[in-house]
């Protein structure tokens, strides 16, 4: 498989190319409009965070970017490549990987089998940072449980596995859907460090979060979502001081 439509375009705004651009994206579930024209972008090598209350469409946004929920209108560009019409299983070639909400793991597969299923060579000239062993080095706990079925893992271990599986794809753009949900502070710290490492490796990240401290700690840019739209965007520090936005959209 090759990239269908050309090489990644150079940056449109400024000189930093965009890892992800979502333009006026609309998506439905049945009759109800879940995404009503979402527009956002993530610059290459940066961490974008989407904040918002439950049910504003954050997970649907992730699924639409991944191609799992069909969009009715709008465009998804990954590294300048329009993937809007591509099936979900074709989108990985652009370097896209997802850490799904709720650690959707395969119960009967062992830890090692999970990671092997996710293995992909990196694209282009990029270095292969991730392999099964590299994931084990990052999460030593997973090495101890390499031969165990995922059904026997704890919540924290499952989250590590879900993250590790996505990393094995050597992604250029990583989508993470509420990775800290239900995790102990210790593991959240580990995730914070991991995200810093990924940034150093040049991976771009789009993160959906409810945990404000974690989100603002890792974010380069914050998008606030409400009723299927991005209603506010700013730098993380600006949001910290903006009580009005926090109260109105995040219920804080």
């Amino acid at each position: 498989m090759s990239l269908a439509s050309g090489a990644p375009a150079a940056g449109i705004e400024g000189c930093v190319p965009e890892a992800l651009r979502v333009d006026d994206l609309h998506a439905y579930y049945g009759e109800s409009f879940v995404l009503q024209g979402v527009t956002l972008s993530v610059k290459a090598g940066s961490v974008g965070v989407v904040l918002g209350r439950n049910g504003v469409g954050k997970t649907t946004l992730m699924r639409s970017i991944m191609g799992l929920t069909p969009s009715r209108r709008g465009r998804v560009m990954i590294s300048g490549c329009d993937v809007s019409t591509w099936a979900a299983h074709q989108r990985w070639v652009t370097g896209l990987a997802l850490v799904p909400q709720g650690r959707r793991i395969f119960p009967s597969l062992t830890v090692r089998e999970h990671l092997e299923i996710g293995l992909r060579a990196p694209r282009g000239q990029r270095e292969a940072h991730w392999s099964v062993e590299a994931v084990f080095d990052t999460f030593p706990r997973l090495r101890e449980r390499a031969g165990n079925r995922a059904a026997t893992l704890s919540g924290g271990e499952r989250q590590m596995l879900a993250v590790g599986r996505a990393l094995c794809a050597n992604p250029d753009l990583l989508l993470m859907d509420e990775p800290t949900e239900g995790l102990s502070p210790f593991i959240v710290d580990e995730l914070t460090r991991l995200i810093a490492t990924l940034k150093e490796q040049g991976v771009s990240i789009l993160l959906v979060e409810q945990n404000l401290d974690f989100a603002l700690g890792v974010a380069d840019w914050v998008h606030v979502m409400e009723k299927g739209r991005i209603v506010h965007q700013c730098a993380p520090l600006a949001l910290l001081g903006d009580e009005a936005v926090k109260r109105r959209y995040l219920g804080l």
Binding site: H89, L98, S108, E116, I117, A169
Partner: protein, 329 residues
Amino acid sequence: MDPIRMARASGRGEGLLRPMPVAGGAILVMVVLAVVAFLPAYQTELVTQMLIYAIFAMSLDLLVGYTGLPSLGHSAYFGLAAYATALLALKLALPFWLAAALGLACAVIGAFLFNLLALRTARAYYLMITLALSQVLWSLVVSWTDVTGGDNGLPGIARPVLGIRLDGAGVWLVFVALVFAVSTLVMWTLVRSPFGYALRGIRENEERMKALGYNVWRYKLLVSMVAAFFAGVAGILFLSLNSFVGPQALSIALSAQVLLMVLVGAAGTLFGSIFGAVAFVLLQNVVSSWTERWLFVVGAVYVLFALFAPAGALVWVRERLRSSRGRSR
């Protein structure tokens, strides 16, 4: 920790399965030799039947147990290969091996075509459409009497020659056991390969596999063709065992029986299907020699399984072993 305990701990939950290929091979050789040496022809044929049904059931387990595709039309490939081989050998006078190879090709192509339709559906609908498609073949065979002999089937297919004539029940059993061993090894290797992990991933979360970049549809199509190939192998062996093929080889009854073998043995374990096939042939033949009401007994056994070991015999035994091991500690 002593090595045995360690080996057990690392095998976790698969202790019963892991030494299977070696132990299984040894048991197979011993059983076959013992049967050939000591048992009369009738019992020898029963063991042959068990092995043939075991190949058939394992091929269905690839779909039902590993990929989560509940097919109720698996006899289509069994019968298609058997009929194609018989017709090519009888009407075109092709040598048996060539006819068999073409028969297998028919089963695989049949699976490709059927699944272009069937894979548009999932779960219960997949079950219904596979049933319907296999019924199309069945009714074709029953009604096209000029070619297929209708209800009378096609008799008179001689057993093949492989250096020596494979005529005698004992020689034939050895040959079938060989085919069984190779088929089992191939399927076993397949389900333990990355292809096999992908199948289990599809069974457990199709969407997640798509997100990981797997073309789920292509995997399902491919495994359907592999399953049809081995169902075809079983069909052709069955044809040779009886020197006959009739519409029964394409019937719903056969599809349902093989599905029961898989479920009773334990779907998704491959070896459970072997158990299921052995149990089925034993029940059918041994119980029917005691009582006319053998179907009643078979039905009762299935009900007992559904109530007390719904995950299948192998899983049931494995759980008993594990809990008794836990208690003894």
